[in-house]
């Protein structure tokens, strides 16, 4: 289980614009680098990040070899009701991690 840090405000008022932050630990090996002996280091990156709110997709990002290690993704959405955000990171070599955070909307 790779370490992840997700940050969603615990409480918000209906209609508030809220910031969601997600930090995932991953080496993001580009696939273009070589070892000192000249062997190519195989690509190992996260290829997709998805955030769903109560099952409905609210944000998605495709990631490529140009993204630095431990990708940090931040985005905004409008809080309309209480519920749970589910985060999913998918990548090379069967990498798949999930996280979640809940929000109470008053």
């Amino acid at each position: 289980m790779a370490a992840a840090l997700v940050n969603v405000p615990k409480k918000a008022k209906n209609g508030d614009v809220i910031e969601i932050k997600a930090l995932m630990s991953h080496v993001m090996e580009t696939g273009y680098r070589r070892t000192t002996s000249g062997t190519l280091i195989p690509r190992d990156i996260i290829t997709s990040f998805t955030c769903r709110f109560e099952g409905e997709e609210v944000f998605r990002a495709d990631l490529f070899p140009g993204t630095a290690a431990n990708p940090f993704i931040s985005f905004f959405t409008v809080a309309t009701k209480s519920g749970k955000f589910d985060f999913e990171w998918i990548g090379d070599n069967g990498f798949s991690e999930t996280g979640s955070a809940s929000i109470t909307v008053e």
Binding site: A3, V6, K21, F72
Partner: protein, 263 residues
């Protein structure tokens, strides 16, 4: 006559130069010391300040898991002896490297963890600069965040601090530079666009953006030694630990920032 005037003029210029910039390097006065943090751009500062954007916190999370994992022939975890790190490890990083009686020399935090593994867990040492040792060290050091650096003032450490200071002051390598030439005399200037800074090691292990990972103080020191084109030292060698000791004594009283972010 003309030659004599030139000599006089040159001597005057030399004298003025010497007066402006002493040839003997001087250490930074206590009040003028600055954390590497103060040299950073606002974006990088913000990244360090927020625990949900600081990538070093991922190491802290992994370190916490390792703290509680049983290992070695003894089948013990760190927590089995030390309980809650948030209590038992508070202030520990602020006084390291510390003197180890059995080895009769100072050891840094990474070495202390590996000594603990050997003596109490009967486990293999964790490799330098690999994720597990960095994560565990970061977790331990993070317990001292905000606390002032308080180096051990015991007499047994003094000769080692003196050796570390000698290393810092001694010119070496193909560029014939000493650490002090940059970090005492020119810390307010730039080297290839980057701030030189004062060599205050108050945030290690750091998450360095250039490395895209956590790294130890010794990794940083080895970087500098390579930059000076001098003969490098392996991780954990006494020379590097002595240098760490001296640097921590320079940083006395400054707050620990682990896990610090640096560019």
């Amino acid at each position: 006559m003309k030659v004599a005037a030139t000599i006089v003029m040159a001597s005057l210029l030399l004298a003025a130069g010497v007066a402006l910039r002493p040839l003997i390097a001087t250490e930074i006065p206590s009040a003028e010391r600055r954390s590497g943090y103060t040299f950073m751009a606002p974006d990088t500062k913000a990244m360090q300040d927020d625990d949900t954007t600081n990538p070093g916190m991922l190491g802290v999370l992994d370190g916490e898991a390792l703290w509680n994992r049983k290992g070695g022939s003894a089948g013990k975890s760190c927590a089995d002896c030390h309980d809650d790190a948030r209590v038992s490890m508070k202030g520990v990083a602020a006084r390291y490297p510390a003197f180890d009686k059995a080895l009769a020399r100072p050891v840094n935090l990474e070495q202390r963890i590996n000594l603990c593994r050997a003596r109490h867990q009967e486990a293999e040492p964790l490799a330098y600069e690999k994720h597990d040792l960095l994560a565990l060290t970061t977790y331990v050091a993070e317990q001292s965040r905000g606390m002032p650096i308080t180096p051990d003032t015991g007499p047994e450490l003094q000769p080692f601090i003196a050796k570390g200071r000698d290393f810092f002051m001694h010119r070496q390598g193909q560029l014939n530079l000493a650490c002090t030439n940059c970090h005492d005399d020119n810390w307010d200037k730039h080297l290839a666009g980057s701030a030189v800074t004062q060599a205050i090691p108050n945030g290690y292990p750091i998450y360095r953006l250039e490395w895209q990972s956590l790294g130890s103080l010794q990794r940083r020191l080895r970087n500098c030694i390579t930059g000076m084109r001098a003969q490098n030292y392996d991780f954990g060698t006494p020379e590097l630990v002595e240098l760490e000791l001296y640097l921590m004594s320079r940083a006395r009283g400054m707050p620990i920032e682990t896990p610090a972010v640096r560019p």
